[in-house]
C-alpha cells in the first residue's frame, strides 16, 4: 500500500529531534529503523502528520560502558547489538535474543529502541529488557526522565512514553559473572514473530540456583516477568526436576492472546514447556 501524506524532517541531534517532535504535535511519529512503522504506514493503519527521521542522529547509536551498567543507544541496530563486544560480554542475553529478531535485512535496519518503543508484546526485546531490569531514558523539550522496564510497557503496543518524548537509550545493569543466559523463541518460520518466547538468565552457585530472571514474550498485552518461576528456582538445586516444577508457574499473571498462530491454551502450554527448557539451557 502507499502511505498517506506526511511532513518529513531529519534532524541531526537529539535536541533538534525532540524540538521537532514537540513542534509537530500529537500526531507526529519518530522514525527509527522503520521496520514496524513503515509497514503500518504502507498499510494505511497509521496516519501521522509528520515523521521525524532519526537516521542522522548518530549520538543515539552509541553503546557505552558506564561501569556497572551498559547504555545502549536507542538507534543501535539489532545487528550492532549482536556484534557489540560490550553487549556480548555483559549482556549476552540481549545479544542472544537480538539474533532471533526477524531476518538479516530487518536486523540491519531495525533498532533496539524502535522495537522497544513499538511495545509489541510479540517482539523479542521487550521481554529481554524486562528480564534485565532495564531503565529507559526518555527526553522531551520538558526534560529527561527515566522509566523502569516494569512500568514501561503499559498495554498492547503502548508504552509509558508521552507522544512528545523520545527514547534516548536503555540502561541495563551488567549481569556479572556466573550467569547463564538463553532466549527460547518458538516460531513457525525463521522470520516470524514468536508465538511464545522465554528470556532467561540463571546464576548458579555450584549446584544451586542463586538467582534467576525470567520474562515471557507474547503471553499477554505486555511482556510478562515470570516472578513465580524466579522465586521457585532461587536456592533450589540445579536439576530438571527443579526447572520443570518451577515452570509450572510460568503462566501466572499471563493473558495470552488467541490468534492465527496459536490459541491461548496452546500458548500457556508452550510457556510452561519452554520455560523449563530455557532454565535448563541456562545451566547447561
Amino acid at each position: 500500500m502507499i502511505p498517506a501524506t506526511f511532513d518529513y524532517t531529519r534532524p541531526a541531534s537529539v535536541d533538534d529531534a525532540v524540538r521537532a517532535l514537540s513542534d509537530a504535535g500529537e500526531d507526529a511519529k519518530l522514525l527509527a529503523g522503520g521496520q514496524s512503522l513503515m509497514p503500518l504506514l504502507r498499510l494505511r493503519l497509521a496516519f501521522p502528520d509528520a515523521l521525524i527521521d532519526l537516521g542522522r542522529v548518530d549520538a543515539l547509536r552509541e553503546i557505552r560502558d558506564e561501569g556497572d551498567t551498559l547504555l545502549v543507544g536507542a538507534m543501535a541496530t539489532h545487528h550492532q547489538v549482536i556484534r557489540d563486544p560490550l553487549v556480548r560480554a555483559h549482556l549476552p542475553l540481549l545479544a542472544r535474543a537480538a539474533e532471533t529478531v526477524a531476518d538479516p535485512a530487518v536486523r540491519h535496519r531495525g533498532t533496539f529502541g524502535g522495537s522497544l518503543v513499538h511495545a509489541d508484546p510479540a517482539g523479542d526485546l521487550p521481554a529481554v529488557a524486562l528480564a534485565l531490569d532495564a531503565v529507559f531514558l526518555v527526553r522531551s523539550v520538558r526534560g529527561e526522565r527515566e522509566i523502569r522496564a516494569s512500568e514501561f510497557f503499559v498495554d498492547w503496543m503502548t508504552s509509558a512514553m508521552e507522544p512528545d518524548e523520545l527514547l534516548v537509550g536503555v540502561r541495563m545493569p551488567k549481569l556479572g559473572s556466573g550467569w547463564g543466559v538463553h532466549y527460547e523463541k518458538f516460531h513457525r518460520t525463521a522470520q516470524a514473530w514468536a508465538i511464545v518466547g522465554v528470556a532467561c538468565a540463571v546464576r548458579r552457585d555450584g549446584d544451586v540456583v542463586e538467582d534467576a530472571r525470567v520474562a515471557l514474550t507474547n503471553m499477554g498485552p505486555v511482556p510478562v516477568r515470570a516472578g513465580g518461576v524466579e522465586n521457585a528456582v532461587r536456592g533450589r538445586p540445579v536439576s530438571e526436576g527443579t526447572f520443570r516444577s518451577a515452570a509450572e508457574h510460568a503462566t501466572e499473571g499471563t493473558e495470552p492472546p488467541s490468534d492465527l498462530h496459536g490459541s491461548a491454551e496452546y500458548r500457556s502450554h508452550l510457556a510452561t514447556v519452554l520455560t523449563a527448557r530455557a532454565l535448563t539451557a541456562c545451566t547447561a
Partner: protein, 313 residues
C-alpha cells in the same frame, strides 16, 4: 465477534431504564465516540480508535432499534465506515435489565462485526481492541446508570455534585463485569481492565468537574493536575493555520445534515483515543515538567482542562 458483559448497579430498574433509552447518554459511554448530530432518532457521530501507532476512525450512525419496556430490553445498532479506508464496523448492543432486590443487574450482549484492514490480520486486532472497547463501554454504562440515581427518570443528569456521583462509581468498580468464557474468542481480560480501572477510581475524587463532566467519573481528570506538555497544546493552534489542507479535510468530516439538534457532545476534538483511556495509567504517564514558563503552563492547563473535560464524554 460476540461479547457479553454483566454488572449490577445499586439503583432500581425503573430508574435505570430511562437512561438506556437516551442515545446521547448511552453514546457518551463509548470511549472515543463523538456524536455530531441527530436526525429523528438517528444519531450521527464518529469513533476514533487509537492503538500504538495505529489509528482507525469510523463515521456512522447509531439508533435504538427496539425498546421493550415489558422485558426491559433495549437494542441499539451502530454502524460506521472508516474515515480513511474502505472498512466498516457495525455492532448491535442489547442491554437487558434484571430487577434484583432493589438493584439492577444489567446484561449487555454485543455483536461486533468489523470489515476492512483491521479484520485482515492474523494477529487479532479486534480481540485486542474490540473487547477492551466494549468492556470500557460497559463500565461507563454502569457508571452512567448509577448516576441516574441522582437524576430522576427522564431528566438529564445535570447539576449533581461530585460527591454524590463519585461514591457509587467507586463502589461499583470492583467485580462489576464478569467474564463469560462460553462466548468465543475473547470476552474481556480481567487483569487488564483491573489495571486500567484502578487509576480511574483513585482519580475520580480529585475531580473538579463542570456539570457535563460530572456525568461520568472518568479517568483522565488526574492529568489536569499534572502540567501537560506545552508542546502539544501549542502546536494544536499553529497546525490548524499552517496546514490548510489538513484542516480542510477535517471540515469535510462534518456530516452535512438537514436538521441538526444541539447535542451535548459535538466537537471534533472530543474524539478519544481508546488506549489513552483503557491503557496507561495517567499517573504513570504523568511527566515531571521541566522548564517551561509558569504563565504558559497556566494557560495551557486551562486549555487542557477544557479539552480533557470534553474528551471524557
Amino acid at each position: 465477534m460476540e461479547l457479553d458483559h454483566d454488572f449490577t448497579v445499586p439503583v432500581p430498574v425503573d430508574q435505570a431504564w430511562p437512561v438506556l433509552l437516551d442515545v446521547e447518554r448511552v453514546a457518551t459511554c463509548m470511549p472515543g465516540a463523538t456524536l455530531d448530530s441527530a436526525e429523528g432518532d438517528e444519531y450521527k457521530g464518529r469513533l476514533k480508535v487509537k492503538v500504538g501507532a495505529m489509528t482507525i476512525t469510523y463515521r456512522g450512525t447509531a439508533r435504538i432499534v427496539s425498546a421493550d419496556e415489558s422485558s426491559r430490553t433495549v437494542t441499539l445498532e451502530a454502524s460506521g465506515k472508516e474515515a480513511r479506508g474502505s472498512g466498516t464496523a457495525s455492532s448491535t448492543v442489547q442491554a437487558k435489565l434484571h430487577e434484583e432486590d432493589g438493584t439492577t443487574r444489567v446484561t449487555v450482549h454485543t455483536k461486533l462485526n468489523v470489515t476492512g484492514r483491521p479484520a485482515q490480520f492474523g494477529r487479532n486486532i479486534l480481540a485486542e481492541v474490540g473487547a477492551k472497547l466494549i468492556a470500557r463501554f460497559a463500565k461507563a454504562l454502569a457508571e452512567e446508570l448509577e448516576s441516574s440515581e441522582e437524576s430522576p427518570a427522564g431528566k438529564k443528569s445535570d447539576g449533581k455534585s461530585d460527591v454524590e456521583k463519585d461514591a457509587p462509581a467507586k463502589a461499583s468498580a470492583p467485580a462489576k463485569q464478569k467474564d463469560k468464557p462460553a462466548k468465543k474468542e475473547t470476552s474481556k481480560k480481567p487483569a487488564k481492565t483491573e489495571t486500567s480501572e484502578k487509576p480511574a477510581e483513585s482519580k475520580a475524587s480529585e475531580k473538579p468537574a463542570g456539570p457535563k463532566s460530572s456525568e461520568k467519573p472518568a479517568e483522565p481528570e488526574a492529568s489536569e493536575e499534572t502540567p501537560k506538555p506545552e508542546a502539544r497544546e501549542e502546536s494544536a493552534k499553529p497546525k490548524a493555520q499552517d496546514k490548510p489542507a489538513k484542516t480542510e479535510k477535517r471540515d469535510e468530516s462534518a456530516e452535512p445534515v438537514k436538521r441538526e439538534r444541539p447535542l451535548r457532545v459535538a466537537r471534533e476534538e472530543d474524539a478519544i483515543d481508546m488506549l489513552e483511556l483503557a491503557g496507561p495509567s495517567v499517573a504513570k504517564r504523568a511527566a515531571p515538567a521541566v522548564g517551561g514558563l509558569v504563565a504558559v503552563l497556566v494557560a495551557i492547563r486551562f486549555v487542557t482542562r477544557r479539552r480533557r473535560g470534553r474528551r471524557k464524554r
